[in-house]
């Protein structure tokens, strides 16, 4: 069985700062990491590999050449194969063009049973790429997976919702998006680090390699564009401090809320 894990290299937002004028991330000197939710997706794939026979885990990423590092880390964690989609033709892609490129690459890899993605990337927070890949490929999807079981050619997943969860069964091939509750990602092994850096462990694929339709890629293939990003000013509404005994204050509060038709 083949599992494909999509992962993205992102700036470590614990250390990132925002340019106050341009509203963009200051990436200089900020370490790059594997997007945390994607690490959970990879961990789940590696767990499935450990618990079952004949599983191959392929990690796939679209990004600049330096995203190679994230893929090598995935190899050091235990992935079998790594593919980096890197081409100027992909640059400027929005989530639709990104998911289209990834879906085309997945088609090109072929013969997959499970695609695992992280819920969302910490630098964009859209949570769109995973679900869009499933739509492009015409396969079922279960998002926000916090528990997963493989039974024959089916998966049974606990899908987290705000105040509970669904238990959903789906037939492979299927796409799943992982949340951090799914598992605790392992550390890469030191021996794995060295193996991951041997020769050409990361395959580089261009747009041509996956026979992608250029009109679907990059800025051209992106139906959305970011015109401006900014940090909204803090709200300046004045608060009101109630006075009196706790009982009196509770009474006043209830009256005020009723007055605003909030209760």
């Amino acid at each position: 069985m083949n599992i494909i894990v999509c992962l993205k290299q992102v700036p470590d937002t614990n250390e990132v700062r925002i340019d106050p004028v341009r509203g963009t991330l200051i990436r200089d000197g900020v370490p790059s990491i594997i997007n945390p939710d994607d690490k959970n997706a990879l961990e789940e794939a590696l767990k499935i590999k450990e618990e079952n026979e004949d599983i191959k885990v392929t990690v796939l990423s679209m990004g600049p050449p330096q995203a190679d590092m994230a893929l090598r880390e995935a190899l050091a964690m235990g992935a079998d194969e790594a593919i980096l989609l890197s081409d100027r033709a992909f640059s400027g892609s929005d989530t639709w063009a990104t998911s289209k490129a990834l879906a085309t690459a997945i088609d090109h890899i072929g013969n997959y049973s499970i695609i695992l993605c992280g819920r969302q990337a910490i630098d964009g927070d859209t949570a769109q790429v995973g679900p869009q890949i499933a739509e492009h490929l015409g396969i079922p999807q279960i998002t926000y997976v916090e528990e997963l079981e493989i039974i024959g050619d089916k998966v049974v997943a606990k899908r987290a919702i705000e105040d509970g969860y669904y238990v959903i069964e789906g037939k492979m091939p299927i796409l799943l998006t992982a949340i951090k509750e799914l598992n605790e990602p392992r550390y890469p092994s030191i021996r794995g680090v060295y193996k991951a850096h041997e020769g050409n462990r990361v395959k580089n694929w261009s747009a041509q390699d996956i026979k992608a339709d250029l009109s679907n890629l990059g800025l051209k293939g992106s139906p959305t564009q970011v015109n401006k990003s900014f940090t909204p000013p803090g709200r300046s509404g004045e608060g009101e401090i109630l006075s009196g005994s706790p009982k009196e204050k509770a009474g006043q509060l209830v009256l005020k809320l009723k007055g605003k038709y909030l209760i």
Binding site: P188, I190, R191, V193, Y194, H197
Partner: protein, 379 residues
């Protein structure tokens, strides 16, 4: 000339930092208090090939280089000097001499499980009467048929009582002086071998420091490491490498202390502004950062030389001399910047200062390092 770490070394630093933040730092203060040996942490380190980083893959290690190993000790010691020395003594003092001097059978039998972390290792040279004067060994080994019979006592043995395998030095021929010393691989369950006093220490309290007692202890003849009479050479060359580990530990303690202090001085306010805005304190921070960077370069240089089969004895001694003094100096100043809080156990500074002190003492005191360096410089 290239000061950049390789991609592998950079990744190993990130992994070790992540591991340390999640697995080592949260328990460091506790195990210092209780003196509990961090067995679970060592198991986790083993399962990620951290206990034999610089040992070749065919002997159970990770196949890495000495710089990567130094980085690993440094990163762990940033949060816990005790866990740092467990790794250092195990790798440098137990794995390395078997790799360097052991027979193929000894490597398969002992090095493979050591480098995998299945076994923990220790090194026994120091005796009550043979500290800096390591040549004054009183422990004896007498060949009797196909066995050696060991008698004597070792003290201050790091990982003592916790280890499965001990590299032990003993006199096989007293008439030959240092050329009469031999090295042995001793299993923990050898008849006549027992653990004596466990030291209660000022720092690195979660690491075990024990007395080893040999009373007609039987060691099979095939466990002689190297040849008879090579023991002193094995002991000294092993310590040359061990000093890189201890220098890395000292570097880690210093750099961990400075990072904690930088966070603190940015938050702590006096006279209406953060401590970091006072120039007098900025200068102390600048000096500490410079000292740490100098120590780091010395440590990595010695490790680089060892990896590349260049002479490293003097370099390792310089690295250890400088880095250990740096650790003591930096932790003392950092504690000063924390003020009264630094003197309490609510903050890690007093522990780091206690942990730093030993780096000026073990695997050769600072004065021994000066002897090694001056001997090389004045020859």
């Amino acid at each position: 000339m290239d000061f950049n770490l390789t991609k592998e070394q950079q990744m190993i630093r990130r992994i070790m930092r992540d591991f340390t933040e999640k697995e080592v730092k949260p328990i460091a203060a506790d195990i210092d208090k209780t003196e509990e040996f961090p067995r679970k942490t060592v198991e986790k380190m083993s399962s990620h090939d951290m206990m034999g980083i610089s040992i070749p893959i065919e002997y159970g290690g990770a196949g890495g280089d000495e710089v990567a190993y130094a980085i690993a000790v440094e990163e762990i010691s940033r949060a816990c000097g005790a866990t740092g020395v467990i790794l250092s003594a195990h790798t440098s003092l137990a794995c390395w001499p078997i790799w360097k001097y052991g027979t193929e059978e000894q490597k398969q039998r002992y090095l493979v499980p050591l480098a995998k972390g299945t076994y923990l290792g220790a090194y026994g040279l120091t005796e009550p009467g043979a500290g800096t004067d390591a040549a004054g060994q009183q422990t004896t080994a007498v060949l009797n048929g196909d066995k050696y019979i060991l008698n004597g006592t070792k003290i201050f043995i790091t990982n003592g009582g916790q280890s499965d395998i001990y590299i032990i030095f003993a006199m096989t021929d007293r008439s030959k002086g240092t050329r009469g010393i031999s090295a042995f691989i001793v299993e923990k369950d050898s008849p006549g071998f027992s653990i004596g006093k466990i030291e209660e220490k000022m720092g690195i309290r979660a690491s075990s420091t024990a007395e080893l007692i040999f009373q007609d202890c039987i060691v099979p003849r095939e466990n002689l490491l190297g040849k008879e009479g090579e023991g002193f050479k094995i002991a000294m060359t092993t310590l040359d490498g061990g000093r890189i580990g201890i220098a890395a530990q000292a570097l880690g303690i210093a750099s961990g202390a400075l990072d904690e202090t930088i966070k603190y001085v940015k938050e702590r306010e006096q006279f209406g502004r953060p401590l970091s805005k006072f120039q007098g304190l900025q200068w102390i921070i600048a000096d500490m950062a410079t000292e740490i960077e100098a120590a780091r370069l010395l440590v990595y240089k010695a490790a680089y030389n060892k990896t590349n089969n260049l002479p490293y004895g003097k370099e390792a001694a310089m690295a250890k001399l400088f880095a250990s003094q740096c650790a003591m100096d930096v932790t003392t100043k950092c504690l000063q910047l924390f003020g009264g809080y630094g003197y309490t156990k609510d903050y890690p500074m007093e522990r780091m200062m206690r942990d730093a002190k030993i780096t000026e003492i073990y695997e050769g005191t600072s004065q021994v390092q000066q002897m090694v360096i001056s001997a090389a410089v004045l020859k």
